[in-house]
């Protein structure tokens, strides 16, 4: 969306658009009231379309690739509530042990409500994500893996992009709830991530309810 008050130049452009729109409406209204109403609807719709249209000069999202040093294999694990799931832990451990020298970064996006996000009230979301990361890191570290954890951006794709920039990764493991219970799957996160990042992506489904049942 275009923000007409982002800069003085944008605001000036918006002013010119409003002046032209006002002249059109007034001219049409002098011909006939209903012509004026129609012109107003068209002008307002046109201005709304102009504001909602993304600026054409915006660069496309980067297609980030791995930046891992030679001889090292790095795995980026992205998960939220399923971050402590047994199925995820087994999958990551299996992949790491098959590769030799491996580093793992577990990222849990600090998922937040839209209202809290807009007012920058992130403390609770980040604390909850940090707690989940701590549990997951502790579980993976028990198996002897080199692992660390971090809290990511509230939007999972952005969290992955941030992690790829700072950590780099040879592969990404995204963990979600099963189909029907996962917001991420509903939003098409895995497909979007595969389209956006030039790194192999594995999708692991963790059914926490089934795992709890097994424990009982």
């Amino acid at each position: 969306m275009r923000n007409p008050l982002r800069s003085e130049a944008e605001a000036f452009r918006f002013l010119v658009v409003v002046i032209v729109g006002a002249l059109v409406i007034v001219g049409a209204a002098y011909i006939n009231t209903w012509v004026g109403v129609a012109a107003a609807a068209i002008v307002v719709g046109g201005v709304a379309w102009w504001l909602l249209r993304a600026p054409s000069g915006e660069p496309p999202a980067p297609r980030l690739a791995s930046a891992t040093p030679e001889g090292m294999h790095r795995i980026l694990v992205v998960a939220n509530e399923t971050v402590g799931g047994r199925r995820l832990r087994e999958e990551v451990t299996r992949r790491a042990q098959a590769r030799g020298q491996t580093e793992i970064l577990v990222v849990a996006p600090a998922l937040n409500s839209p209202v809290r996000h807009w007012v920058s009230d992130e403390d609770t979301a980040r604390a909850a994500a940090a707690e989940r990361v701590r549990t997951s890191v502790a579980g993976l570290a028990e198996t002897g893996l080199v692992v660390r954890g971090d809290v990511g951006d509230g939007e999972p794709l952005q969290a992955i992009e941030d992690a790829l920039r700072t950590f780099g990764a040879d592969e990404i493991v995204i963990s979600t709830h099963p189909e029907g219970r996962s917001h991420w799957l509903e939003q098409g996160l895995v497909d979007e991530a595969r389209e956006r990042f030039a790194v192999p992506i594995t999708h692991v489904v963790v059914d926490l309810e089934a795992e709890r049942e097994e424990v009982r």
Partner: protein, 201 residues
């Protein structure tokens, strides 16, 4: 075995640490909140205007009163022109033309002042007061609310002009002019809407 769960995230107290990927910066959020509050403020007055004129069918202007459309048109031209000089002043400082900046800001201030003085003269000669019915009340509320915004804009412009003559702005540092310019154009946009609805249509 090396485990490095980031302690600074886990033991965080006080305000949240700035996160580099956060896309809602305080500046943008502040601007959105400002726009939202202005929309609600002007929206409430325009709602009253709509109910008085369209729903209630009150004649506009209510006889025997008349609106000084021509004077307001000249005033509109002055205010619109002031936006162009404002834009010129910012373009000047971006190109390193300090005198262009100073002249542009001075002209903008003088035209804004002319607008406000003319509006005051119009109030004294228009022949009705806010107490003279719904039409008069809405007229004074809408134009007065906008006039208050012009007054704020003039205050900002005055400081900007003084700073410009003191040499505070340069091609690399002119954020103060940028912000003031945004506000001034916003005031202009609001006047066009007010002028169109109150005087023309």
């Amino acid at each position: 075995m090396a485990t490095h769960a980031h302690a600074e995230h886990l033991e965080h107290h006080g305000p949240p640490a700035p996160h580099f990927s956060s896309r809602v910066t305080p500046g943008v959020l502040g601007m959105f909140l400002f726009i939202a509050s202005e929309i609600m403020l002007f929206g409430s007055f325009f709602s009253a205007y709509f109910f008085v004129r369209v729903v209630n069918g009150t004649p506009w202007p209510t006889p025997p009163f008349e609106l000084p459309v021509f004077v307001a048109f000249v005033n509109t031209c002055i205010l619109v022109t002031s936006s162009f000089t404002m834009h010129w002043s910012l373009q000047s400082i971006k190109r390193g033309n300090v005198w262009g900046l100073r002249a542009g800001l001075l002209l903008t201030f003088l035209m804004g002042l002319t607008f406000l003085v003319t509006q005051g003269r119009e109030y004294s000669r228009v022949g009705f007061a806010p107490k003279d019915g719904a039409f008069a009340t809405i007229f004074y509320c809408l134009t007065g609310l906008h006039g208050a915004h012009v007054f704020v804009g003039l205050s900002i412009l005055l400081f900007m002009t003084i700073r410009a003559f003191r040499g505070h702005f340069s091609p690399d540092h002119h954020h103060g002019v940028e912000i003031g310019g945004i506000y001034w154009h916003f005031v202009d946009v609001m006047w066009i809407v007010v002028y169109m609805t109150v005087y023309i249509l």
